[in-house]
């Protein structure tokens, strides 16, 4: 089988989507050695997998075009050229003209553009509003990253349940429990911060609900319970100026809340391991990998109980409503005061995180594509039989 993959999210400084594709793409040739894989992009990508059957196709025509437009326009031509059997749209956009007979698999991460449009960057919102619905309609198979997203698809867009499958992301090998003290010292030395800190990870954008964290820090400080700063790792995204205004208004200093910018992959395990607690107050997530990675590193997680977080984290984290800074602050203090609670949450987290495994997910995804391929072949065979009659 020849499988084409939209590899544009594999750029440098990957975020959630890029990591999802990378995690699966790395394992595809190993799990399904009989398939040919074509990774398409219009820019350079950081593909960490190689092999005879792995083809990296950088197509620079229409270089001036934004990626989504490029895919819409060029995707069909490329699919025809490489005689694909299946096309995996890793971002919910399909090429305008996919040749007939090519199986269309579309991954839908979340329905932010439908449910929380105000938190999305304008361009991404526009692109998804125009094309995502169409892609979801045309897809032969929709892959979501959580059951919550699948439910949303059924409820909000009326997609038939039989078309949707859920393939969870995994946790990369590097997220293992490190010695917390050494890890904290490494981070402290490298970034010039205190070796005692609370951690948060996420692009600085409204959906990640960082304003709640500012509020948490303010509450803790006003009670004299702020023992260590809050460090936020993540690139500056969009619509973030109200957040910085809020920090100024609350008169918080760099020693109390600090933004470290994008952290490279190799530092993240140390960043998680060294933290006193990991906070994740997001308003909406398709899956929410950072808290799972933090759990794998043995750090206690306090997360929001918004969509999909209860499904993904289960009872292995403390879940609080994303609009209550008080409850978050409360949980931080509880964790600090109660050793047993800390150990229990930690143990539950480590065990829960083990459930998410790239190997199993890659197998599952290939199995789905395979099944779809077989059933569509059967259909064409019977159609041919019918026409010859």
């Amino acid at each position: 089988m020849r499988i084409g993959i939209d590899a544009r999210p594999l750029k440098n400084q990957r975020t959630g989507i890029g990591n999802y594709i990378l995690g699966l793409a790395n394992l595809l040739p190993q799990v399904g050695p009989k398939n040919d894989y074509f990774f398409y992009s219009n820019r350079d990508i950081d593909l960490q997998v190689s092999g005879k059957r792995v083809n990296k196709q950088i197509d620079r025509s229409f270089g001036w075009c934004p990626g989504s437009f490029w895919l819409r326009g060029r995707g069909g031509t490329l699919a025809r050229r490489d005689q694909l059997d299946a096309f995996w749209a890793t971002y919910p956009i399909l090429p305008a003209s996919v040749p007939r007979g090519v199986i269309k698999i579309v991954t839908v991460y979340d329905l932010v553009w439908l449910r929380f449009p105000e938190t999305t960057a304008n361009y991404a919102l526009l692109v998804q509003k125009i094309w995502a619905r169409k892609a979801i309609e045309k897809a032969d198979l929709i892959v979501t990253i959580s059951r919550s997203t699948a439910e949303d698809l059924v409820r909000e867009l009326g997609v038939p349940e039989t078309k949707i499958r859920c393939v969870y992301p995994g946790v990369f090998e590097r997220y293992r429990r490190q010695d917390p003290r050494q890890a904290a010292e490494y981070i402290s030395k490298k970034y010039g911060v205190s070796a005692d800190y609370m951690a948060a990870v996420g692009t600085v954008e409204p959906r990640k609900n960082l304003k709640l964290l500012v509020e948490v820090v303010r509450i803790l400080k006003s009670k004299g319970q702020l023992k260590c700063p809050l460090l936020v790792a993540g690139a500056n995204g969009w619509k973030s100026s109200p957040l910085f205004r809020q920090i100024q208004a609350a008169k918080l200093t760099e020693d109390e809340i600090r933004f470290l910018g994008y952290l490279p992959d190799e530092d993240l395990p140390f960043f998680y391991s060294g933290a006193e607690v990991f906070l994740f107050p997001s308003l909406y997530e398709g899956f929410g990998l950072p808290p799972v990675e933090a759990m794998a590193c043995g750090t206690c997680v306090i997360a929001s109980n918004a969509r999909c977080m209860p499904e993904v984290l289960g009872d292995a984290a403390i879940l609080e409503p994303p609009d209550s800074a008080e409850r978050f602050a409360d949980a931080v203090l509880q964790l600090r005061a109660n050793v047993n609670l800390r150990h229990a949450i930690q143990a539950a987290g480590i065990l829960k995180a083990e459930e998410y495994c790239w190997q199993a997910s890659a197998k599952q995804l290939l199995g789905l594509i395979d099944n779809q391929h077989k059933s569509s072949e059967r259909v064409t065979v019977t159609a041919k039989g019918a026409s010859s009659l």
């Binding site: 429990r177 509450i219 006003s222 009670k223 319970q225 289960g314 009872d315 292995a316 403390i318 008080e326 602050a329 409360d330 203090l333 509880q334 005061a337 109660n338 047993n340 609670l341 150990h343 229990a344 949450i345 930690q346 143990a347 539950a348 480590i350 065990l351 829960k352 083990e354």
Partner: protein, 415 residues
């Protein structure tokens, strides 16, 4: 985090009971997981004055054993002795591997395993059981913070029978002995010796598990008669491997009445290794049971790569993941039909074998232990979250303040 475990079932006398097998395997895996992940947990067990299991019991830095003189007296241990002894350890959690043994103390949250609600569900098929055990199980179900059971089906049963909240019941699937039950071909010499001793000729159709009414062996014998009517040329035997149990008189009389009684062989109880050898030599395995909590025999058969057909009642389709051929256990007709169907279709047998192997590989004691540990951790965490010291926080309305005071008072009262 200290976890105290009722280790009465590790005593030599209970070595072969299901609970002992469950506790021993699960505990060993729990300790191994704690070691590999260096979790902050500590397991405490209790040993009576005459017991010897600590010599061949688990060895691990996460495992502590305490002497308990009252463990020698089973009744006293069950009725509060354990609670007293446990209190001195100051555990954060108490684990009872069976719901029949100890009144939980209010000193720590209790997690109890209740395998199934079979005695309450189908008393006519398993005998009434003692009132004491019923009372104990009921009490345990009511008092435990969390209850562990072994399939979604059992969970539903427990919720209905004991009126529990769904959130209080967790499912952890069991594991099986992979050293014995695996797809490796059987040892030729051992097979010949065993089959010769039991008077079995190949090919044979196997049922393993206790010969009792609940296992529906009587209808299996009738289905076997129908099968023979249809395929006289297939010179095979029906082997019933397992000890005899409740209602065996009826089963044995049906066997006597059968025209094929010479082809029906009762082996009696067999040790695990021999059972595994028998399974690996079987042509087909039939699981006609009327009611099960997990049905380990079915998983073992699947793990040995024997084509398996099973009844569609209770947990069977759930545990086998819907990959087998199923029949209505109350219909002799259907059971015979399914057996004939599988007998006639060799492709189907092959695919049954493969799908069974794949599904069985999903179960292991390690998985069971991991899920159990998660339940432990979540229970302790849930318990640790209740007393909220809200006075540390500012900015709250008077109502909230009052509630906080009330909560704190409640917490004290409960403690």
């Amino acid at each position: 985090m200290k976890i105290a475990i009722d280790t009465m079932f590790l005593r030599q006398t209970y070595e072969h009971t299901g609970t002992a097998v469950y506790l021993k395997n699960m505990l060993n895996e729990c300790l191994r997981i704690c070691e590999t992940n260096s979790l902050d947990m500590e397991f405490h067990g209790f040993i009576g004055p005459q017991d010897t299991w600590n010599k061949n019991g688990p060895v691990s830095p996460y495992w502590r054993v305490h002497k308990a003189r009252i463990l020698g007296r089973k009744r006293i241990w069950s009725l509060g002795g354990m609670a007293l002894r446990t209190a001195s350890v100051r555990p954060d959690l108490v684990f009872l591997p069976t719901g029949q043994h100890c009144v939980p103390a209010s000193l720590a949250p209790v997690v109890t395993t209740i395998l199934d609600a079979i005695p309450r569900r189908i008393p006519s098929l398993v005998g009434r059981g003692s009132t004491r055990l019923h009372m104990m199980t009921w009490l345990n179900a009511k008092l435990a913070t969390k209850i562990i059971t072994i399939s979604e089906w059992s969970k539903r049963d427990l919720i209905e029978v004991y009126g529990l909240s769904p959130a209080a019941v967790e499912v952890t699937y069991l594991g099986y002995n992979k050293q014995q039950y695996n797809e490796a071909p059987p040892d030729v010499g051992a097979s010949a010796a065993l089959l010769g001793r039991l008077g079995i000729r190949r090919p044979f159709i196997l049922h393993h598990g206790m010969v009792q009414l609940r296992k529906n062996v009587h209808r299996l014998i009738q289905a076997w008669d129908r099968f023979r009517e249809r395929h006289k040329e297939f010179d095979a035997q029906l082997v019933l491997a397992g000890p005899i149990g409740f209602g065996h008189e009826e089963i044995l009389s049906i066997r006597e009445a059968s025209p094929n009684r010479d082809q029906i062989i009762l082996t009696g109880a067999l040790p695990g290794t021999e059972l595994a050898t028998l399974l690996k030599n079987a042509f087909l395995c039939v699981i006609p049971s009327l009611y099960e909590g997990f049905c380990l025999p079915m998983v073992e058969a699947m793990a040995c790569g024997v084509p398996t057909v099973a009844s569609n009642s209770s947990c069977m389709p759930e545990v086998s993941g819907g990959v087998l051929e199923y029949f209505d256990p109350f219909s002799v007709e259907q059971m015979a039909k399914t057996m004939i169907h599988v007998f006639e279709d060799s492709d189907l047998r092959k695919s049954l074998r493969e799908r069974g192997l794949q599904r069985a590989a999903e179960f292991s004691w390690q998985r069971c232990a991991k899920e159990t540990l998660r339940v432990f951790a979540a229970t302790v965490a849930g318990e640790g979250r209740t007393p909220v010291d809200r006075s540390l926080l500012m900015e709250k309305s008077r109502d909230e303040n009052n509630r906080a005071i009330r909560d704190a008072a409640d917490a004290k009262f409960e403690a």
